[in-house]
Symmetry: C2
Subunit: 368 residues, 2 copies
């Protein structure tokens, strides 16, 4: 088999893996195909947490189709596991099936087990080749890497700004910077996550619902409010309508300790974060969320919060809806603010991952 063919089959495994993207947390999404005489003859992917791994699924599919796996090559996006977890190790299933040829995309991100599954198979006489479409396969499990190694959620950072980097006028007016279609897209993104986070200013000024509305969804994401000051009034939508689904992250102060009681009585949670650089320690918040099984979070700003997430290197994927509009007003509110720098070298540097049209806007997806 030449490299081009190998990459074609791995690409097919990747597209299978993507079907369950977001549903496998905190497991990785993984796809696999069996190839015989230059053709994909069976396929499978890890469908969700606690369910069989991709390797087991593809073997099940082969059995159903009366394909003998001994005559096939296996392509799998992630190195097969070699340990007992919720399910028996996949290396065992591969050996029992009699597969002689295995192609792996990414190695296990855990440095303690990286290469272990591949080496074990090789020691049993299986021909193993790793690194087929490695960059894409690694990208597929960027979230898994964060859960496993950094023990924190994957954070999406979403913004809607003008070409001159403004998210509202100086008076706070922002309806609407982005197009109808862009706003719909945000609701599709909300559907993917377990929690939506906004800052205290947005909470007070916009009185948001933070629900999925323009897209169908069974469950609403939690509402996370990151604020210096807890709200003194109970009239806000989230406190009235969704108190049990709302969590406040704040700093300890006499005032906040006093308000905490009122908020707790309404049914919302208050979490006090340690102080770092005179502000919240966002790493501590990230750990708290992970400990509470929150694996995907959508951060919807404002500009100070957005900048803080960059500072903490917690913006894993930035979705910038760029409206073809210009305010031309330096006093309008910036998409990122809160620090003071002297040279361009101090800029946060990202890279474009994907650029698409979204109504009249552009949707720029960036990663660090």
């Amino acid at each position: 088999m030449n490299l081009k063919e190998k990459e074609k089959f791995m690409a097919r495994a990747i597209s299978l893996a993507q079907r369950a993207k977001g549903k496998t947390a905190p497991n990785p999404c993984v796809g696999a195909v069996l190839v015989k005489e230059g053709k994909v003859v069976a396929s499978g992917y890890h469908r969700g947490y606690g369910l069989p791994h991709a390797e087991v699924e593809v073997l099940k599919d082969a059995r159903k189709k009366n394909i003998d796996p001994r005559e096939c090559a296996l392509f799998v996006t992630l190195e097969p596991c070699n340990h007992f977890g919720k399910t028996p190790p996949c290396t065992k299933a591969i050996l029992e099936a009699g597969i002689k040829e295995v192609y792996v995309g990414a190695l296990d991100p855990n440095p303690q087990v990286e290469g272990g599954g591949a080496r074990f198979l090789q020691s049993k006489g299986v021909q193993v080749e790793t690194g087929i479409l490695q960059a894409q396969c690694t990208d597929l499990i960027r979230d898994f890497y964060l859960w496993k190694i950094e023990k924190r959620p994957f954070f999406y950072l979403k913004l809607a700004s003008t070409l001159d980097g403004k998210i509202a006028t100086s008076t706070g007016h922002s309806n609407w910077i982005s197009s109808e279609k862009s706003r719909e897209k945000v609701h599709q993104l909300r559907k993917k996550v377990q929690a939506v986070l906004v800052g205290g200013n947005t909470f007070v000024q916009d009185n948001p619902k933070l629900t999925v509305r323009k897209a169908k969804s069974k469950k609403q994401p939690l509402a996370l409010i990151l604020t210096r000051k807890l709200p003194a009034e109970a009239s806000y939508y989230l406190l009235q309508q969704r108190p049990e689904e709302t969590i406040f992250f704040t700093l300890e102060s006499q005032e906040n300790l006093r308000l905490q009681k009122k908020i707790s009585e309404l049914g919302s949670k208050v979490v006090f974060l340690p102080v770092k650089n005179n502000s919240w320690d966002l790493k501590a918040m990230a750990t708290w969320l992970w400990n509470n099984n929150i694996f995907y979070v959508l951060v919807e700003g404002g500009g100070f919060i957005a900048q803080k997430f960059l500072e903490y290197q917690l913006a894993d994927e930035i979705w910038l809806f760029l409206a073809p509009k210009i305010l031309g007003d330096a006093g309008a509110i910036s998409s990122f603010w809160g620090r003071s720098i002297k040279t361009i070298d101090e800029a946060y540097t990202l890279s474009y991952q994907k650029v698409t049209s979204c109504g009249e806007d552009l949707l720029l997806i960036l990663k660090p």
Copy 2:
């Protein structure tokens, strides 16, 4: 011939026209093909000011190839002229060649002659169809429309900004926001224009050359400085090295009248603009440039100048090099500033025309 075929031939004529884009000023760029039995058999375009029109060129090509134009349909991006200018009317050439079928893209933008050429040909028994790929053909001569109807140059507005709309840090540092490749591209753009304009702040802070460097060019564009205050020192590069190619646009004041003398002695021109809304009347500047046969100008900012061009609806094409960087500092210098607005409805609204990668950056081309 069905519409799809007609559009295919017109697209060919458009691509011919584009070959001379920028070289025909203040004439429009025009392309033409002759089609016989479903095939392009001859082609031509207007190669430059004072040279034969596209219709004459395509007929010349046909003669060279021994094609009889009487058996052909003519496709031309712009309505054939019906008056004596530098050359005899093209309607005459078409009739003399015996062409029976003419397809036109855009009608003449001059309301006084619009449709005249098409109607004249029809009155002589030629079958004329107008509006084939009309939007593209009209777009092709947007510059010509401005020269002819608005009697002003075509202005490109170029910026290099971060994702948060900043063109420099608060201390004025801007080397480099955009990638090497983007900076090269700017020099290619400079090559297309007859003049490059910057504001007084840029003149003082950057001491720019405003020459074409990273691309080959025979002739350097003029340097235009739009400023409230004429420079008091003669040490600037433009005044030392390119005084004859430098023009200052400013407002009348005792100080400026005094400095004008010094500047004139060095060889540079000073033009006093009328005052409008406590600033320069840019319409007057545009007229001055047109009167001086300057048809393409590249405006390179800064942010106040850029905003002023939007205010005067003089930004005909915006080239925004968007670096994947974020400063996160509200005090840094905005890409557009100088006015104060309350609601998003007051934003300048544009539309994306083209989006391409340029090194690590995106190049967004927008039009009003």
